[in-house]
C-alpha cells in the first residue's frame, strides 16, 4: 500500500455475471473518480467475484465512491479498507537486462534485499517476480530501472482486512434456469 494519504482501497463483492466489470468501470469514468488500479477475480464462491480498487480520493469523498458502487444492482457489498488494519499485495513481473556480468550481479544483489526472486534467466534478460506491498514493489522497480527494464507487468493491488473482519456474502443465486418450465427441451 502506498503511503500517500490520498489513496484509498475499496473492496467490492459483485455478482459474477457478464458486464459487471463494465458497469463498475463506467461508474468510475462518469463520476470522474481517479482509479489507480482495479483487479477482479473469483472468490471461493463461483457466483461471487471480488474487486479491489485503489482510488485517488484527493477530489472525492470515499463515502461517495462506496455508496455509488453500492447503488449498482450487481454489487453485493462494498467496504473501504483504508483506516482498518489490512493486508495488501501487488505482484509485478519485471524483465531486466542481464547481458553482462555486472548487470547480472546487480540484479541478483537487488533481489536479495527485497521479497523478490528471479523466475527466469537467460543470456540477455531475466524476469524478476515480486509480491509485496505496493510501495515496496515501486522501490524495487526504481532500483532495477538503472540496470535496464525492458518489460513490466503488475497485477494491481489486492487487499483483505486483518483478523475477524470478514467480507463475505451468504447470498445464493436464484437459478432462473431451473425454475422456468420445461427444462428437458434445453438439455439442462
Amino acid at each position: 500500500m502506498s503511503n500517500s494519504t490520498s489513496k484509498q482501497v475499496v473492496v467490492a463483492l459483485v455478482e459474477n455475471k457478464p458486464g459487471v466489470l463494465n458497469r463498475v468501470a463506467s461508474l468510475f469514468r462518469r463520476r470522474n473518480y481517479n482509479v489507480d488500479s482495479l483487479t477482479v477475480g473469483r472468490t471461493h464462491k463461483g457466483h461471487v467475484s471480488r474487486m479491489t480498487i485503489v482510488v485517488d480520493v484527493a477530489r472525492t469523498d470515499v463515502r461517495q465512491i462506496v455508496s455509488n458502487l453500492y447503488k449498482l444492482v450487481n454489487v453485493i457489498d462494498v467496504k473501504a479498507l483504508t483506516g482498518e488494519p489490512h493486508v495488501s499485495r501487488d505482484l509485478a513481473l519485471i524483465k531486466v537486462r542481464t547481458d553482462d556480468v555486472e548487470s547480472r550481479n546487480a540484479v541478483t544483489e537487488v533481489c536479495d534485499r527485497y521479497p523478490a526472486r528471479i523466475v527466469d534467466i537467460g543470456v540477455k534478460y531475466a524476469i524478476v517476480e515480486i509480491t509485496a506491498q505496493e510501495d515496496l514493489v515501486e522501490h524495487l522497480i526504481d532500483e532495477l530501472r538503472p540496470i535496464g527494464i525492458v518489460e513490466l507487468v503488475r497485477t494491481g493491488v489486492v487487499a483483505m482486512g486483518r483478523g475477524v473482519r470478514i467480507l463475505d456474502t451468504d447470498y445464493e443465486p436464484v437459478n432462473h434456469l431451473q425454475n422456468a418450465g420445461d427444462l428437458e427441451r434445453y438439455g439442462v
Binding site: D61, R63, S67, K71, V174, H176, A180
Partner: protein, 565 residues
Amino acid sequence: MLLSGAEIVMECLLREGVDVIFGYPGGAILPTYDAMTKYPQIHHVLVRHEQGATHMADGYARATGRVGVCIATSGPGATNLVTGLATAMMDSVPIVAITGQVPRAAIGTDAFQETDVTGVTIPVTKHNYLISDIRELAYCIKEAFYIARTGRQGPVLVDIPKDIQNEKIEFVYPEGEIRLPGYRPPMSANETDVFAARDLINSAKRPIILAGHGIMMSGAVQELRELSERAQIPVSLTLLGKGAMPEDHPLCVGMMGMHGNAASNHAIQESDLIIALGMRFDDRVTGNLKTYAPHAKKIHVDIDPSEIHKNVKVDIGIAGDLKTVLTQILPGVNGNNHPEWLNRIRDWQEDSSERDILSNYDGDTLLAPQVINDLWKFTDGEAITVTDVGQHQMIEAQYYPHRRPATMLTSGGLGTMGFGFPAAIGAKFGRPNEPVWAIVGDGGFQMTLCEMATAVQEQVDVKIAIINNGFLGMVRQWQEFFYEERYHATPMVSPDFCKLAEAYGVPSMRVTKREQIQEAVEFAHSHKGPVLIEFVVEKEEIVYPMVPAGADLDKMLRRPKKGEQ
C-alpha cells in the same frame, strides 16, 4: 402453457398491471408487436419518434406514480430512446424500456441495426438487461419493474434478441419474492439520527424546509404538511417539488433557486436550519456552494445514500424513505412558532410583489407571465401542466401556483427540450379525467411536434399552449446578460403553427392580446381531442429573479420596482 418469448413479454406486462405502452415497431421487435395482437388489454400507442415514446412513458409515470413502459426496435430505434432515458434518470422517474436486439448468433458481428444498447445505456439507466436465455426473460422483466419503482426510482431497459422473442417455452410466471443480493434500498432512520434531527428542529429559530420531488415519490405530502404546520416551518420547493405543498398555503414560500422566489432564496441564506427532504442540492438551487446557507445546520433526508454529503456537507444525513423517516421524526416535534422569522419572509415576499411585472406593466404586447397567470385563472389552478424547457418553463413555475401533487410535470435535471408535449400525452393517458395542458416554447415544441399526429390518431385530449417569443428565449436571455446582447443562433423562424395544426387536423387559435386568453382557453376546452393555442408574446422578455450560474444564492438580478428603472 407453451409461449413464445414475445408472448412472455406481454404476459409479464399484464402481471405488472400495464394498460398502455408507447412505442414504434421495427425488424428486431416485430415478434413482440405480433404478440400484442393477442393482448388487447394492453393498448399500444404508435408514436412518431422513439424519443416521444420515452417522454410519454415518463409523463405517464410522473402523473400516476406507476411505471411507464416504452418499446422500440434495435439499433436506431433503441438509440432514439437515449434522451428520454437520461431525462427519466435525472428526475428519478420509473420507466421500463423494452428493445429488440439482433438474434443472439448475430450479436457482435455488426449485423444490420445492431447497436450495443445495454452498453450505450449503462450511464442513463438505473439498471439494464441483455437477455441471453429465454428462461431468464420473465424474471428479468419482473426485476426490471421492481427496480424501476423501488428505492430511488428510475428507468430500466430490457434488451431482447429477436430469436428469444420467437423461441417457445413452457411458461410459468415467476411468482414469489424478488431476491437481489446487492439491492437493498434504505427505509428507516436510526434512533440517534431521529433524536438529533428532532433536537435541531425543536431548537431552530429560523428553520426552513426544502421540499423536493422525493416528497411525491414517497407519498409524504401529509407528513410534510404536518411537520411544517406543527412547528410553523416555512416550506420552499424545488422545481420538481412543486405540488408537495399547496402554493397558496401561508407557509409555502414557493420555488427556490436560479429563477426561484427571492423570498425563498433569502430565507435559505439567512436560515439557521435547513431541513432538506427528497431533494439533491442541484447547482441550479444552491448557487455558489461556498457561500450556501452559511449559518444553517443542515438535515438531509434522501432515499439515495450517495446524495448525502454529495454537494452539501450536512450535519445529519439520513438515507431512507421520506414517509417512513418523517413518521419517525414527527412524534417528537414540538408545536412552535417563529413570528419574527415568518415576518421577515413576508417582507421579502412583499418586496417581490412590488417588482412583479403583472402589476407594473402597462404595455400592449402580450407577456408570457400574463398568459400563464390567466391560464391558471381560467383552469381554476387545477390543470395538470406539463412544460417544456426554457423561459416559459420558469414562468409557468412562477405564475401557475399548484395545489396538488403531480400536477406540474417538467424535465428538471436534464432540462430536455422536446419533453413537454409528448410527456403531456403520456400524462393524459395516465389521468384521462383531468385537463392536461402542454406549455411549450416555439423552440422546444419543434423538437417533438411530430407527436401531433400521435395525438390525433389516438384522439388524446391534450391542450397545447405555445409561448411563441420568436427566440430560443432562455438562451437569448443569457446572451443579453452575459454575451453583450449578441443574439447569435437564437432568433428563430417558425412555421405558422396554426396552419401546421390544421394540417395535422388539430383545431387551433392564435392569441395576441390578453383579452383573448379566456376565449382561447374556452375554445380549447370545448373541443375534445388535441387543440393548439399559439400565444404570440413579447420577444425580449426576461425571467427575473435570476441567480447567475455560480453566484451566491441571494445575489439575484432583480426586476426593478416601478419608477426605479
